[in-house]
């Protein structure tokens, strides 16, 4: 710290006293830790008598999330006096129009970024102030501002941080102790490239540019005088201007992922589900059913040698409920819901290739036994991939049952153009005043364009009534499914 103060003093003492503080003020805007003391460069002081002390105004961050902003309008013009609290310009941030105020006193000497400038990154120089009484017309524009256009990409700004601020242990001596360290930031892209290519430190090259800027000519002279040749080390990734030697993709490091080739079935599923989730306003409703009666009934049937799964009853219950609340048994086509003539229930079946939904057609007219055998037959062929298109395309309603896997409850994605899908959870034992009860939660996902809450609720009530009174589901016609479909 002492060392820094001493060296800073050395620089300052060459300046007229009245300018002293202003110089010191210059670097407070820099985020990269490089002192902007180039104005205090000794050679500059001696050669340029008309030099003016400037206060640099940077693009401010006027909202916490602002990265760049648009300058809409300057309220002050060059030559205007500025005092604390004055509004200089109107800036559009990512959120709002804001006025930029200043706390400085002086004359607005130079507007570097004019009105109607878009995407000015924060921290870039937008204007220069000089002290009152100074000849503002002769203000010197820093090479930094002249070299970089105002619409430079924001990514350029943080690069110096990496190179210079990485030495926090001894910042004062590293950043400020030497005079020749001051113009290091004043290198243009071409100079930077040369320095990198020839592996030269900018400190070694005598700079002759305005305000101590290092010019390309300086570097070329230096290279010629020292007879240097290009360094072997390839330029770092920071030279995007040379796209030719592009590294091969195979050699790309960090391959932490394994690509799985997409089957067309998976691709279709992805497309349809994305379409569903992004275009259908999904709404959800859940209901609990008491499974006690159904369990008893299944026990009785099992004793008679009839094996019917819970899923078969669920399909039947859904079919009955659809019959009683027909608005749910519909598809969305041509911008409106269309009631389906028959109750065709798509039953989701997991196959090695993904989910497929074979259809139990005319389910409301089938007996539970018929449903059972149909589902068994269809899912068997589904797993072998032997379903015919008409056996899984269409359908007016879907059921997805994860109960056998122990899932308590879940929400399914609607299978367009259908209006609703029922997600079935597992049966679980719940303590109640009447002793232990077997409960099952189902969740209806429905298209709220075609169905409202009342209709969805109505359907769920019917579904629960059917499940809780399973004896009524044992009825059915004696027709086979084909005849049933024909009869409809």
């Amino acid at each position: 710290m002492l060392k820094m103060a001493a060296s800073a003093g050395k620089i300052y003492c060459r300046l007229p006293k009245s300018k002293l503080a202003l110089f010191a003020n210059l670097n407070i805007f820099r985020k990269d830790g490089i002192a902007l003391r180039y104005v205090a460069n000794e050679r500059q002081m001696h050669s340029s008598a008309s030099y003016l002390a400037t206060i640099k105004l940077d693009m401010p961050s006027l909202s916490p999330t602002m990265e760049k902003g648009n300058i809409i309008k300057w309220y002050k013009k060059e030559g205007d006096t500025v005092s604390p609290g004055d509004v200089l310009c109107k800036i559009e941030t990512d959120k709002a129009m804001m006025d930029m105020e200043t706390e400085e006193t002086g004359i607005l000497a130079k507007i570097i970024v004019p009105a109607d400038s878009k995407d000015v990154p924060i921290g870039s120089l937008i204007a220069l102030l000089v002290e009152e009484g100074d000849d503002w017309k002769n203000v010197q524009i820093p090479a930094e501002a002249a070299a970089k256009p105002p619409s430079k990409p924001a990514t350029e700004t943080p690069t110096p941080v990496v190179t210079t601020a990485a030495v926090p242990a001894s910042p004062p001596s590293a950043a400020l102790s030497s005079d020749h360290g001051d113009h290091r930031h004043l290198v243009g892209p071409s100079v930077k490239k040369l320095l990198q290519e020839y592996n030269i430190s900018s400190n070694d090259v005598p700079a002759t540019g305005p305000a101590g800027a290092l010019l390309k000519g300086d570097v070329l002279n230096y290279i010629n005088s020292k007879k240097l040749s290009k360094s072997v080390t390839p330029p770092a990734a920071s030279t995007p201007s040379t796209p030719a030697p592009k590294v091969e993709p195979a050699a790309a490091p960090g391959a932490n992922y394994i690509d799985i080739p997409l089957t067309s079935m998976r691709r279709t599923i992805a497309k349809r589900l994305t379409e569903s989730k992004s275009t259908i306003p999904h709404a959800y409703a859940s209901i609990d059913s008491n499974m006690g009666a159904l369990t008893e009934l299944r026990k009785t049937l099992a004793a008679d040698g009839v094996k019917i799964s819970v899923n078969d009853f669920i399909v039947k219950a859904a079919a009955l409920a659809l019959q009683r609340s027909p608005k749910v048994n519909a598809i969305w086509a041509n911008d409106g819901p269309k009631l389906s003539q028959s109750v065709d229930i798509s039953v989701a079946v997991a196959t090695p290739n993904g989910l497929i939904t074979p259809i139990v057609k005319g389910a409301s007219y089938l007996s539970v036994e018929q449903i059972s055998s149909t589902v068994k037959e269809l899912s068997g062929r589904a797993k072998e991939g032997k379903l015919l298109p008409h056996e899984y395309q269409g359908g007016s309603f879907s059921i997805s049952n994860l109960g056998m896997f122990g899932i308590t409850e879940f929400s399914a994605v609607i299978n367009p153009p259908q209006l609703a899908i029922l997600a079935i959870g597992t049966s679980r034992t719940e303590a109640s005043m009447k002793g232990n009860q077997l409960k099952m939660t189902v969740t209806l996902s429905y298209d709220s364009r075609g169905l409202n809450e009342v209709e969805a609720t109505r359907f769920l009530e019917e579904f629960r009534n059917a499940l809780e009174n399973p004896q009524f589901m044992l009825g059915g016609t004696n027709l086979d499914s084909a005849a049933e479909a024909f009869a409809f």
């Binding site: 401010p60 961050s61 926090p168």
Partner: protein, 386 residues
């Protein structure tokens, strides 16, 4: 060098005792200043309205106020360059309150304030670099970079408190400690016109008066509680009288000498009689915090008018220059020194190292046993503390 002494107040506010016209060096060593009359509540007699001050004091107060102003401007700029993040409440406009009060108390007296703490941290003895480094979150900050804008501390300065109004009962507690230990010290507990309407303020008033604690309750009335003007938030805007049974003084908070005189009176009163309320009528130039542009509930013209007519620094400069105590050239020199000092401090504050992550687990317990470990936010973390 001879000078003659007079305490006879004249018509104008400032009476030069010794001013050499046309000379760039000031030689007057003392001057008299008439302050805006105080308003008193339950007091027969108030502080003196004619204030004497010396050249050294004038220089000191000017330097302190100016430093706070430049410090806050620098903080605003660093914030707008995203070097300071998070909360940041600036003191610009209110400098005369901290500097004036500090002029009447000693560093043995205690101070506690709210989140607008940068100026007070500086006057309490923390240097500019440690305040800026605290804002930039560096090791060299006055709270090791762990506190930031709202949680700065110094000797006998109890923060920097983020919870609006909560510092006032704490201040009464500090005053209680002074009384309990039979110390001849007071505690200054500061709050804003916004917090003045909180219930806990009145609870603190009550216990302080009940036990006659040496506490000076200071309402820094800058006119706006966040974005609400005092007239829209307070049934009574006479904050100096709202202690009811506690006497109060209204003072022009833009006049550093008036604030000093009122504080001197209040300290004397508090040590003898118990609590007293001071309302320092002041103004804030910036928004409530950095996320408030500060112009949606007041006009820009209003702010500019205060800056021109009531600015505590500009006005004080006029007073001392007219009195011949300090010359324009000296002022200029001080301003340049301050600009350089703050800019250098800012440079250091930007480059000082940050605390390592292990420091997250330190300063949690007072004097923990050796090898004591504490849990992090997740059970797998068991870190050493000290």
């Amino acid at each position: 060098m001879q000078f003659f002494r007079t305490f006879r107040p004249l018509g104008n506010n400032t009476v030069p005792l010794k001013a050499l016209q046309g000379c760039s060096y000031s030689t007057a060593t003392e001057a008299v200043h008439n302050v805006t009359p105080y308003k008193l509540h339950r007091l027969e007699e108030g502080p003196k309205t004619t204030v004497t001050y010396g050249r050294d004091e004038a220089l000191k107060y000017y330097r302190q106020m100016r430093t706070i102003r430049v410090l806050e401007t620098t903080a605003a700029n660093l914030y707008k360059s995203k070097i300071i993040r998070g909360f940041c409440h600036l003191y610009s406009g209110q400098e005369a309150v901290a500097v004036g009060m500090e002029g009447a108390i000693t560093h043995e007296d205690s101070v506690i304030t709210a989140y607008r703490a940068h100026g007070w941290t500086y006057t309490r003895g923390a240097d500019v670099r440690s305040v800026l480094a605290e804002l930039t979150g560096r090791k060299t900050g006055c709270a090791n970079g762990k506190g930031g804008s709202m949680h700065m501390y110094a000797k006998n300065f109890y923060g920097g408190n983020g919870i609006v109004g909560a510092q006032v009962p704490l201040g009464a507690g500090i005053a209680f400690a002074h009384k309990y230990k039979n110390e001849e010290k007071v505690c200054i507990a500061l709050y804003g016109d916004g917090a003045a309407n909180q219930g806990q303020i009145f609870e603190a008033y009550n216990i302080a008066k009940l036990w006659n604690l040496p506490c000076i309750f200071v309402c820094e009335n800058n006119g706006y509680g966040m974005g609400t003007s005092m007239a829209r938030s307070s049934a009574s805007v006479d904050y100096y009288s709202r202690g009811d049974y506690i006497p109060g003084i209204w003072v022009d908070g833009m006049d550093v000498l008036a604030v000093r005189e009122a504080t001197r009176f209040a300290k004397d009163y508090a040590l003898k009689n118990g609590p007293i309320v001071i309302e320092a009528f002041t103004y804030r130039y910036h928004g409530h915090s950095m996320s408030d542009p500060g112009t949606s509930y007041r006009t820009r013209e209003e702010v500019q008018e205060v800056r021109q007519k009531r600015d505590p620094i500009g006005k004080f400069k006029d007073v001392i220059v007219q009195a011949g105590v300090v010359s324009e050239a000296e002022i200029k020199k001080i301003e340049e020194e301050i600009k350089k000092e703050v800019a250098d401090a800012a440079e250091l504050a930007k480059n000082d190292p940050e605390l390592p992550p292990e420091e997250l687990y330190t300063h949690v317990y007072m004097d923990p046993p050796p090898n004591f470990k504490i849990r992090g936010c997740d059970d797998s973390i068991l870190a050493a503390t000290r």
